[in-house]
């Protein structure tokens, strides 16, 4: 039984190393946020958080613009989630249940648009937004973020609807239900787990988005947290503890939600991104 023991020990060691690598940067964010200045700039780094400085989190929210940033991010993310799922469910349903002229074009388009970098699209979208008066508004960001996350949302939901037996719909149709009623009463409840997963994807797509936000928003009070935090990089005025505290509060929701939804999210991302 000896070789087995050695194998197991090596495996556990390997897992611990991987976990250390995975977790360390976030851990370091917390340690930095909770350090005193003398700890930060001492010759020897302090490796464990000093929880007596916990107030930095409250101060960062109370004093600064951080609370406003996070609020703007929340508005953009909720709006994007609602809009992209609202558009994605009927699109996914049409792709799953109907055969129609132009279906192949739509599918190819959904796959192709996922190759377009935001940085490429930001220039023409800027002129479009100027024409429609959408610059410097959270609503404009909701629209553009929804458009960019919609393909993956729709493809994931199409895959989920593919998995529902048609027989369930047929019986409702025999009772005379209209297509829209069938969709909302039969399909939507059955694909609820997939909707939840796409909600996580859409929400954090918008929560993390940077290029459009930094280009389209001019008023500091309308900036989302991604822009606010990015502006900290290379800036010297704000104490690094405050910076890390804000960044941690920005990161935590994403990590928590992904932990809960990871199985669905990962399955959806691979299925939606390449199939078809």
């Amino acid at each position: 039984m000896r070789p087995l023991r050695i194998g197991l020990t090596l495996r556990i060691l390997g897992v611990l190393v991987v976990l250390g690598v995975a977790v360390f940067p976030l851990y370091w964010m917390i340690v930095t946020a909770l350090s005193s200045n003398s700890d930060l700039f001492a010759a020897k780094a302090r490796l464990v958080p000093d929880f007596s400085h916990f107030g930095v989190f409250i101060d960062a929210l109370a004093e600064g613009k951080a609370l406003g940033w996070l609020r703007n991010s929340l508005v953009i993310a909720v709006g994007t989630t609602v809009l992209s799922i609202g558009l994605g469910i009927p699109l996914g349903y049409a792709l799953s249940r109907f055969s129609f002229w132009g279906k192949a074009v739509v599918t190819v388009l959904l796959l192709f648009t996922q190759m377009l970098p935001e940085a490429l699209m930001v220039v023409p979208l800027f002129s479009l937004f100027r024409r429609f008066g959408l610059l410097d508004s959270l609503g404009g960001l909701i629209l553009v973020n929804s458009a960019f996350v919609l393909p993956i949302v729709a493809l994931i939901l199409k895959g989920a609807i593919d998995g529902i037996p048609r027989a369930l719909e047929e019986s409702a149709r025999v009772d005379g239900a209209r297509p829209l009623t069938v969709l909302t009463r039969i399909n939507v409840p059955l694909i609820a787990p997939s909707i939840a997963a796409t909600a996580v994807i859409a929400f954090f797509h918008a929560w993390n988005e940077y290029v459009f936000a930094v280009t389209f928003i001019f008023t500091p009070g309308k900036q989302p947290a991604s822009v606010g935090i990015a502006n900290f990089i290379g800036e010297l005025g704000t104490p690094i503890q405050t910076v890390m505290a804000v960044a941690f509060m920005f990161t935590l929701p994403a990590v928590v939600f992904y932990l809960f939804a990871q199985r669905h999210v990962v399955a959806g991302m691979t299925a939606g991104a390449v199939k078809g």
Binding site: A45, V122, L183, V255
Partner: protein, 314 residues
């Protein structure tokens, strides 16, 4: 209500059932997809067409409504430019190392987590963290960890005697790209490993057991059984990583802005600074088109290879 006779069954379904149309007219599918289609048309297709048009013009950011048609000048100009050829090379290095690094490390981690042990659920969840963390936060913490004076990375490297002189990793033409690559792969490996882990779990255990009973070594079992099952997943991940890496912007932009002296400049970074620093919308669009075409070639090429392999297998 019209009973539709859609007998155009797709493919070779033996079952006879009414395909498609959960009743309603033939316009029903269009009603369902119209709102989304309008959306994608307005925010993706129209801007893309504009961008393609821009790539054949000389247009300034300061006067974007005034374009001069220059044909293929932008393209011939960028391909004649030494800096652009370097950007292309950097992009290819960045993409290839990202793909190999993310898929390779993902496979290693997946194999590590594939055997049952206590706390595996936790390990699996914790490994997801880098992928879940927002790119902005990753760029911020990476920049801080790489800080020349107080960053933990330099303190560690100095302690083990591998310190970079001056410690300014992100300001060094030699070390900036490796640092960006390490950060990127750190963020990607959770995704590849979770995907590969679920592929590994679909490897039939009686097959691997049978191979072991027949006296096959571990390496042989891996190649003959496991690798065959996960090969399509590896291919899929490689394509995804390629597309994502060709698009990646904020991590590189926030850590180095493509510098020092262009050492970390990928196509997307180049196009953004062309548009917003040099104010040349035309050549920015041309650079962007090169990136999109490369993506398309990779996807189309990989499909072609996959089809050929399928045919061969038959």
């Amino acid at each position: 209500m019209t009973v539709q006779k859609q007998q155009r069954t797709s493919g070779s379904r033996t079952e006879t059932r009414r395909r498609g149309s959960p009743r309603g007219s033939k316009w029903t599918p269009y009603l369902f997809l119209a709102p989304a289609a309008v959306f994608i048309l307005v925010f993706q297709v129209v801007p893309l067409v504009q961008e393609i048009f821009l790539s054949f013009t000389r247009t300034s950011l300061l006067n974007p409504t005034h374009s001069t048609w220059v044909g293929l000048d932008n393209f011939s100009h960028i391909f004649g430019d030494k800096d652009f050829r370097r950007t292309l090379l950097t992009t290819f290095i960045y993409v290839i190392v990202c793909v190999v690094g993310a898929v390779g490390s993902g496979l290693a981690v997946a194999l590590l987590l594939n055997k049952g042990f206590r706390g595996r659920g936790w390990a699996r969840a914790l490994v997801t963290i880098p992928w879940a963390a927002p790119g902005i936060a990753v760029a911020l913490i990476a920049t801080w960890m790489l800080n020349p004076d107080y960053g933990i990375v330099n303190r560690f490297l100095d302690a083990v005697g591998l310190g970079v002189p001056g410690g300014a990793i992100l300001d060094s033409p030699t070390y900036a790209l490796p640092a960006i690559l390490a950060t990127t792969i750190w963020q990607l490996f959770p995704f590849t490993s979770v995907v590969l882990l679920s592929a590994l779990q679909s490897v039939p255990s009686d097959l691997t057991e049978a191979a072991t009973v027949d006296g096959a070594g571990r390496w042989w079992t891996f190649r003959a059984v496991t690798w065959q099952v996960i090969k399509p997943t590896i291919g899929l991940l490689a394509i995804l990583m390629t597309i994502w890496s060709l698009r990646r912007f904020e991590l590189i932009w926030l850590m180095t802005k493509g510098g020092p002296v262009g050492a970390t400049e990928t196509l997307v970074i180049d196009l953004y600074s062309q548009a917003f620093d040099s104010k040349q919308l035309g050549s920015a669009a041309a650079i962007g088109m090169v990136g999109v075409v490369v993506s398309l070639i990779v996807v189309a090429g990989s499909r072609f290879v996959a089809r050929a392999a399928e045919r061969e297998a038959r």
